[in-house]
Amino acid sequence: GCNSDVSQVYSSSTPQNGKTGPVRVALLASSSQNGFNKAVYDGAVARAKEYGDVEVTVFDGKFDSQTQFNQVQNVAGQGTFDGIVLVPNDNVGIAAAIPAAARAKIPVVTTLFPVGPQLTELKPQVQGVVSTVAADTEANSKKLAEGVVGYCEGKNPCRVAILIGQLQFPFDNLRNKAYRSVLDGHANIKVVATGQGNYDRDTSMKAMQNILQANPKLDVLLSNADQQTIGAQVALESAGVDPSKMYITGGGGNQEAIKQVRAGKWAADQVDFPNSMGKAALEQVVNAVRGKQVTPVVDANTLGPVPVIVTKEILGQHPDFAGEWAD
């Protein structure tokens, strides 16, 4: 029955001022098998349900930029989808695929990171990206590091171990540089070790054990990811170090992290709101498809009920906040 549909396809092809029928959205996850992405997806699906006539499909990016590049191309080529929500694996390469989507009149909303050459520029940099739902990674990282500076005041030396995902990743490199730009200005703060945790508990545990070996006395563990801090905590505890006596951070705001901060074991956590981000991104993409007003930059920091850096005190004021994702 292909032929009979042709006229329909033509008649329902996107009108100038937005589509009216049901909307199908492709959610290109950086990896579908990952809690953070799952939360983005859940958020998007929840919002879609509220709409009633919006449908979300998740694609597995396998943490591979080529795969994601291909997926953008495929979605643009097939005409099955009206819009794309993207959790990019890399910000620059994927930009090259977006024009294909633009040509197919498929709006793209990116989450977590901007798309384009500038990791720090949230305004859409590439034609086809209609909105960025993200936070300023550099600024957030600096805020996290400033907490360390506060803690270290009056301590000399104040020994800091940094646990970063993988320095090979541009965003981790950016985070590390942001941390250092804050910490290196203080003579009393000594970054004694920089380990790579690879967002993995076991790797982080090993790295932390080894770091402790060379630096038995640590004052601060500055980690950019909750999974890493959890792994490092195992190493600290089995080395007889009481985490609550140190200044420990995580990043991501997952449920475990919020628990630890509430319990006073971790001093601070930089919180992400993937579920809210998913919701917001879906809203924007649906708006774009329907020809409604689109917000070019949605500051992810403002999406949640809590500020981006949480401490025990702050969480005390938000007894209901449990974290938006689990991993």
């Binding site: 499909t57 597995d60 097939q78 390469g93 090259a96 320095l167």
Partner: protein
């Protein structure tokens, strides 16, 4: 001449042998058919060209990898070579402000690294499995060092012509793959070099006794494989417009999987180029199918594994007497 032998020769068709040789093609056609009837968005020119185009770099690596495997080797460093070559291309294009120079640098860098592999394997007499595992670590480190852990974006417009442009609707990548595969097939079947590759892989001692410079042949196959990874990298980096130190991660295993899926023996001595290309596209169709059919990606790896097993079991079952 025995009765069965003559019967077989007379009928001219050897079904088990056919299945064995064409197992991967049969699976490919079957999957193609299934996808064609299950969704209308599969069998479109754009989609097919996209599939061909997207996987051309991997297929190029698998084509050269076939020669390596036939020659009795293993190249586990193609992914890392891809990474190095793609950052080298971006770096050169950026620093000399010449997209062309950059894109030419990739195959050169690839060939150079392949040469290093070959030299290490033949001089140090290390088995290629381990040698290329080690060199892939070294090359991977190199790629990171070149970029300092960042991406290298090439703003110059010409840089992306190779990866995104084409002849009419046919991307350059597809054209390059076609030429490279045909050339490699010719090399394997119609030249002394190919004959020597087959003989070195089949029985290195016999080849040596026949006056063939076994080490040199081996070295050439690794050089060729590096060159292919470099060409693939040129296409890849030009498509994305950015040099990334992780760009090639995991490609080597996919390429080898495709080669073996194509029925090339991991013991060397036998194999065919076109079947490796089929292997690549069999894997590609599974990926594409999942995306198109909107299937739960949780099942993708599982399905891929099952399809590989089915293809190989099909080819092996026909081998039994």
């Amino acid at each position: 001449m025995t009765a069965t032998a003559s019967a077989r020769a007379a009928s001219g068709v050897n079904v088990p042998a056919l299945i064995r040789h064409y197992a991967v093609l049969i699976m490919l056609v079957a999957l193609f058919a299934v996808l064609s009837v299950s969704t209308s968005s599969f069998l479109t020119l754009t989609n097919l060209l996209n599939i061909l185009n997207q996987n051309a770099p991997l297929a190029i690596i698998a084509v050269a990898g076939t020669l390596v495997v036939i020659c009795g080797g293993f190249d586990l460093s193609t992914g890392a070579i891809f990474s190095v070559a793609n950052v080298v291309a971006a770096w050169v294009a950026l620093h000399f402000n010449s997209p062309l120079l950059g894109l030419l640098a990739a195959p050169l860098a690839g060939a150079a690294l392949g040469l290093v592999n070959g030299a290490a394997i033949t001089r140090l007499r290390i088995h290629s499995f381990l040698a290329t595992l080690a060199s892939s670590l070294v090359y991977g480190g190199l790629a990171v060092l070149i970029t300092g852990g960042f991406l290298i974006s090439v703003p110059a417009g010409g840089f992306t012509a190779l990866g995104r442009g084409g002849i009419g609707p046919v991307y350059y990548a597809i054209v390059i793959l076609a030429i490279f595969a045909l050339l490699s097939g010719f090399l394997l079947n119609r030249t002394t070099f190919g004959r020597y590759v087959l003989s070195v892989g089949g029985n290195a001692e016999a080849a040596e006794l026949s006056g063939i410079r076994v080490n040199r042949i081996k070295l050439y196959t690794f050089l060729y494989s590096g060159l292919a990874a470099g060409i693939a990298a040129a296409i890849g980096v030009s498509r994305i417009g950015t040099g990334q130190p992780q760009a090639g991660d995991g490609m080597q295993l996919l390429a080898i999987a495709a080669v073996i899926l194509g029925g090339t023996s991991i013991y060397g001595g036998v194999g065919a180029i076109w079947r490796s290309v089929c292997g690549v596209y069999l894997l590609a169709l599974i990926d594409n199918g999942f995306d198109i059919l909107n299937a739960n990606p949780f099942f993708k790896d599982l399905t891929t594994g099952v399809v590989i097993l089915a293809a190989v079991a099909l080819s092996v079952a026909s081998k039994r007497r």
